[in-house]
């Protein structure tokens, strides 16, 4: 960290290497597009490098980096007017078509992954960040508070609302993703 602060390129590269996947994943889950996610993740590390002198060593480095990433993504969403939850404006879900022959399970996993992301895209940005940090970064409530600047009750509330919203979206758009709903819709169909 000290070496990176002194402008040591290798030390900063090691820092980027350590956090590139959590940051890229957060950007991808927040923005919903691999291209935008890569640009955003790169910009996040530019900001990280610039703000190294202001880093408080008492703070967990992962929380600090992800805090910069989540704020950056929320700013991007605001700037690009992607803050829409209107289902009609969402791109229609299409099954992934692979040119390479893939095992059936892998293809199914990829399809489900794309559908999960399509649902995440429909959440309000302020609900997305805590959800992503909770599920993909395994961050406890307190660390999410630190990274998002939210109070503990706000984090709990946003996670809860995000789950309820996801349940509602799945009921309407992807009941087969939830086994209990899939069984219900099958029995109704029968």
């Amino acid at each position: 960290m000290e070496a990176a602060l002194r402008g040591d390129r290798d030390a900063f590269a090691a820092l980027v290497d350590a956090y590139k996947n959590p940051v890229y994943n957060l950007c991808y889950r927040m923005l919903g597009s691999p291209t935008e996610a890569e640009d955003a993740a790169q910009e996040v590390f530019v900001k990280v490098y610039r703000r190294l002198p202001t880093y408080d060593p008492n703070r967990k480095l992962a929380s600090w980096v992800l805090s910069i990433a989540s704020h950056h993504c929320i700013d991007m969403i605001r700037r690009r007017h992607l803050q829409t939850t209107d289902i009609e404006e969402m791109p229609e879900w299409k099954p992934l078509v692979s040119e390479q022959p893939q095992p059936e399970k892998q293809l199914l996993d990829d399809e489900n992954e794309a559908r999960i992301q399509a649902l995440v895209n429909q959440l309000e940005p302020q609900y997305r960040a805590p959800l992503i940090m909770h599920y993909w970064n395994d961050m406890p409530y307190q660390e999410i508070c630190d990274a998002t600047g939210l109070s503990l009750s706000a984090v709990k509330s946003r996670l809860h609302r995000a789950r309820l919203k996801l349940a509602e979206l799945m009921r309407n758009q992807a009941p087969d993703l939830i086994p209990v709903l899939g069984a219900q819709s099958e029995s109704v169909g029968a």
């Binding site: 590139k20 691999p34 996610a37 790169q42 590390f45 599920y135 709990k156 789950r163 996801l166 209990v180």
Partner: protein, 186 residues
């Protein structure tokens, strides 16, 4: 009846806390008991549990190959541009400050030099200067050098102080601008 309704009202939030492991065992068993007997809450519990499992199992998206090199390059280039901007601001501000202080403090000297150059004596024998170009250049340089020497002798100390003050204030201003910018974008 009222108690059950209240229990059902609170249940969605309690289920979330249950799934996140933010409950003691007594509260957990209460949630389990209620969801086992209440069809509505039971279904919600299963839905939220399925979502929880699905999201826990969703894979982490990995950064593309070569990302580290690109990100480091971008960070160092951005930092270089930032430093260049700060350097330019420092240079421009320092120069303007220096010139301003010099002119303000030494307006009399500038006036003297200008007056000397345009005084009737300076142009006496102008008709002789034209055929003798070397002589005219020599006169011009003599005036210039004497002016510089005078300025140097008279202003050596104030000049040094002004230069240092200009440079220090420019550096401080540039740092303040830089820090303000970082805080604004934070």
């Amino acid at each position: 009846m009222t108690m059950k309704a209240t229990m059902c009202d609170d249940m969605p939030e309690l289920i979330s806390l249950y799934l996140d492991g933010e409950m003691d065992e007594v509260a957990r068993s209460r949630v389990r008991r209620h969801t086992a007997h209440c069809a509505l809450c039971g279904t919600l519990f299963q839905e939220l549990q399925s979502i929880d499992t699905m999201f826990h199992n969703a894979p982490l998206q990995l950064a593309p190959v070569g990302f580290t090199e690109r990100a480091v390059q971008a960070a160092f280039e951005a930092s270089f541009r930032e430093n260049l901007r700060v350097g330019m601001v420092t240079l421009i501000f320092g120069t303007v400050t220096l010139l301003g202080l010099l002119l303000w403090g030494n307006l009399g000297m500038v006036t003297t030099i200008a007056t000397t150059l345009v005084s009737p004596d300076a142009f006496t024998g102008m008709d002789q200067w034209i055929p003798s170009f070397v002589e005219s250049v020599r006169v011009f340089w003599r005036v210039m050098i004497s002016a510089v020497v005078t300025v140097g002798e008279v202003l050596a100390a104030p000049l040094a102080v002004t230069l240092m003050a200009g440079a220090v204030s420019a550096y401080l201003l540039a740092e303040i601008l830089k820090r303000t910018r970082v805080q604004m974008t934070a």
